[in-house]
């Protein structure tokens, strides 16, 4: 329904601008660095603009933009993995050397924990848990099956629980139920105190 003539660019531009805050949040959460995130956002905007003819009007522009961004991220990630042997291992070591804190668990701890997730799990968790996409939309964005998204989200949550309980189990929550949940998650549900 493109009206011929004027206003097309402006309308598209305004729509793009409207998506930038969410794109940035996705990129920052995905790659863990604001500077790199903004580079991905920029790359995404340029690609989107130059490929606007491949975008179907009336479909979900946000999902389309997220797809472009995650493809850029994973393309880089695969390249870097070939160059640096053990990206995840280094991240884990960095986290492990993080001085133990018994203060209030702040968001920095969570950000660090997020970083050591495998990126495909991190991506699924963000898309579902923060960006507000449905499992079906997330599956399209990641180009995988809906069941794969679900299992990645589950694994991401379990691994986060594990990581956070190691680094700051004291700070998990104000109540015992929360701590119990964390403890149970971290040992795979093996220990139980209730019942006979």
């Amino acid at each position: 329904m493109s009206a011929p003539g004027t206003g097309i660019n402006e309308a598209l531009r305004d729509e793009l601008i409207g998506h930038i805050p969410n794109l940035r949040a996705f990129a920052v959460s995905l790659c863990g660095s604001v500077d790199r995130a903004d580079d991905y956002v920029q790359e995404t905007l340029v690609k989107a603009w130059s490929n606007m003819d491949s975008f179907k009007e009336g479909t979900n522009m946000r999902a389309w933009l997220f797809t472009i961004l995650r493809n850029a991220f994973f393309s880089d990630y695969r390249k870097k993995r070939r160059e640096v042997a053990d990206v995840d291992g280094q991240m884990a070591a960095k986290l492990a050397s993080h001085p133990e804190q018994h203060g209030h668990m702040d968001l920095d701890d969570f950000r660090e924990a997020l970083k050591i997730l495998p990126p495909d799990q991190r991506e699924a968790l963000i898309l579902i848990g923060a960006s507000g996409f449905s499992y079906e939309e997330a599956a399209e964005i990641c180009e995988c099956a809906v069941g794969t998204v679900k299992s990645r989200v589950n694994r991401a949550r379990n691994r986060l629980a594990e990581t956070l309980s190691i680094s700051s189990s004291q700070d998990f929550g104000p109540d015992r139920t929360s701590q119990a949940a964390m403890a149970i998650a971290s040992v795979g549900g093996a220990s139980r105190s209730s019942g006979s």
Partner: protein, 79 residues
Amino acid sequence: MMQERKTASAERPDDDRSGLDERSDKPNLESTLQDFIGNKLRAVYDEVVSEPVPDRFAELLKAMDDVPASDDDVDRSGE
């Protein structure tokens, strides 16, 4: 310039947790854990969402506006 800022929370579907309790026989504890992780995740995410759009993007989009999107034959009546 009108800027529409969609927050993630405004679009979050209610069935956020569908399929996530399947593997667990401890739904209450599991959901407490999910709430905890979900809250932290959204806090980290929404912090960025609520930041103002960096100038570089406004400048970029302005520059891109000089290049027609998609078709080369889009008619631009001058600035």
